[in-house]
Symmetry: C2
DNA sequence: CGGAATCCCAGAAGATACTG
DNA sequence: CAGTATCTTCTGGGATTCCG
């Protein structure tokens, strides 16, 4: 049983965690899923700025593999797929929320500086 | 006054924050600086697994630009440079700690699964 | 000791077109 | 609507060598 996760390098917990939520869109998607509870594919694609379908699909698949989100298909016409946070994914929210607030604060500080 | 930070895309706080602490080594370096308080260049290079001098220098420079760490040079022979967390950088510790604990927990869970 | 300077590449991300 | 499939581009990071 080979695992894509374990490499020869000793495993550092911070490193491990960053690999789950790193990349260009993972944090944002988790954040949006948290604030909206449930989102369809199309909604996500409109919500995440400039994301392509390829990256959206790929990112969602990775989050699903890591069991941070749930994917629920409705076999209808037209098709419908809903994404939501899993329990495990929800555990990350406090930290993303913290990060969000920190980022907001820094953005405001920079804004003030640029005005002067 | 051009800024490397602002692009045409609307600024999202989560995205902003991830850009400060994303990348392969930033989280780990902040984490190590927190647990050891102060570290020299050579110590960091030995502590962070497999990091090259190029990446170490580059990462430290970026963290310094964003004012998350302090760089203190001693003009001696041989030269000596110490790195430590800044106030702003220290604000990030609670959440990196959270992330660290989460990662540790997940690693343990995965370990158990692989044994079965 | 604490870097800087090059060269190079894998893998991340973008563009575009097509489909059940 | 919710994706696939390709192709291309870009850039974060690696390897190596040299410097004050």
């Amino acid at each position: 049983m080979k695992s894509k996760k374990s490499e020869t390098t000793q495993m550092c917990a911070v490193d491990y965690a960053f690999k789950r939520i790193g990349g260009k869109y993972k944090g944002m998607i988790l954040w949006y899923l948290h604030s909206k509870t449930v989102l369809r594919y199309g909604e996500l694609s409109r919500t995440v700025p400039n994301i392509t379908t390829k990256m959206l699909t790929q990112t969602l698949r990775e989050l699903e593999e890591d069991q941070l989100i749930n994917r629920k298909m409705f076999h209808e016409v037209p098709p419908k797929v809903e994404y939501s946070l899993s329990e495990k994914g929800r555990e990350l929210i406090p930290f993303i929320e913290y990060l969000h607030n920190w980022g907001k604060k820094q953005l405001e500080i920079e804004l003030l500086k640029n005005k002067s």
